[in-house]
Symmetry: C2
Subunit: 240 residues, 2 copies
């Protein structure tokens, strides 16, 4: 039976890839690389390019929009092409920035691949938020602490609920909601111990922003950004 490896590549620094990922990428017959925009830029490609033979790489554009119908149609087409590649090669790797189980496009593919009875092995990678906490020197969880990982919500009220329940809040996909986050942090100073955002962690143009220095903040971009908030309260949910 042919086999597909779902390989996590880590946050972006090519040295933050695992030995196992490199071994698999060197051994497979084909590597499927997702592109996140039509300009053909691919972070995944940048990570693997020095480790593998170029001829093995097949690049696909994976749309990332919010229109479910469009997404379904495009993915159906993609899945057919990818199933073809897997059928024509003994081993294939699909590579993902970070880890395949954390907000990865691979999951849309994986849900659709299940019915084709293809053997899949997942190879873990370092998620971007783990790179971020290491860059910030902020422990995400100490003993007796809890953590939540969320996408940036549309309003302050939802954020406030998480803040009250957790020691650490990791916020991904901030994009255009950066102002809501900044306003929230300013309005809830008394609940927040530390608040940082890292843009392009471990990549060229990496930018670390202290979100409590409200008046000094210059955000060059908010794509590929992750915020980490350490709260002062120790969580109603845990009964403190």
């Amino acid at each position: 039976m042919n086999k597909l490896y779902a390989v996590g590549l880590g946050p972006g620094d090519p040295e933050l890839i695992t030995l196992k990922a490199i071994k698999i990428l060197k051994n497979v017959d084909k590597i499927i690389v997702p592109e996140s925009n039509l300009k053909g830029r691919s972070l995944a490609n940048d990570i693997i390019i020095d480790y593998v033979d170029k001829y093995k790489i097949e690049t696909f554009y994976f749309p990332m929009n919010n229109n479910r119908m469009q997404l379904d149609e495009k993915y159906s087409n993609l899945v057919e092409k990818i199933v073809n590649i897997i059928n024509n090669n003994k081993t294939v790797a699909y590579v993902t920035i970070g880890d395949s189980t954390i907000y990865s496009t691979f999951n849309y593919l994986w849900l659709r691949l299940r019915k084709y009875n293809i053997e899949v092995e997942f190879i873990p990678g370092i998620p971007s938020f783990i790179a971020v906490s290491n860059l910030l020197h902020i422990p995400l969880t100490l003993k007796n602490e809890n953590l939540c990982l969320i996408e940036m919500p549309e309003n302050q009220e939802i954020l406030l609920k998480y803040i009250r329940l957790f020691n650490t809040i990791v916020i991904m996909k901030i994009y255009k909601r950066i102002q809501i986050l900044l306003d929230f942090i300013e309005d809830n100073k008394n609940l927040i111990e530390e608040a940082f955002m890292v843009e392009r962690a471990t990549l060229k143009g990496q930018n670390i922003v202290n979100l409590r220095q409200f008046d000094k903040i210059i955000c060059k971009q908010t794509y590929l950004s992750t915020a980490v908030i350490k709260t002062r309260n120790y969580g109603e949910i845990r009964g403190y």
Copy 2:
């Protein structure tokens, strides 16, 4: 100035270490390896032993109990010894299973090292729960999903609050509370889509347990175990 690297080694499989971690471990003058029990077994040591020269390794017993006073005293002694090592060597690495920012003993050390004005660089590793989700082929977060990471609480009520608020609950440090978890899963079948526990992920003796097959469960050990629960409800907190 002398420098300390806090290096995450990943979950246990020596191939799940990063290129960067290996490069640093090969280059530093000394490597501090924590032992979690007095028998001298060290998972961290098992991971690095094939990559580095043995003579560089210094092993220390890091107590992991709940007595704050005892812990404080022992750590004060340890910190003195470790500061000595750092002062006598140009570069030193402290290695941690998984990642240094997730439930790691390094944080106790780190809090105490701050006052010595030692330069510290964190090198991320794959946390065990990421290895677990990859083994289980369970996406921790799909688009619009949220995740919480908690230690196993002392009662069902606390778990129930998390279940109602999150799509994915990752539970660490289950140990002797396994029966509370099993009872909870049986009592709340209607809220739970999937529930698995992995013991010793990526290590010898790895054991994957479907926690919903309640009557068939044989847990050989509950140390180094992580549970992943996918819930059916989509979270009151997110307004669905």
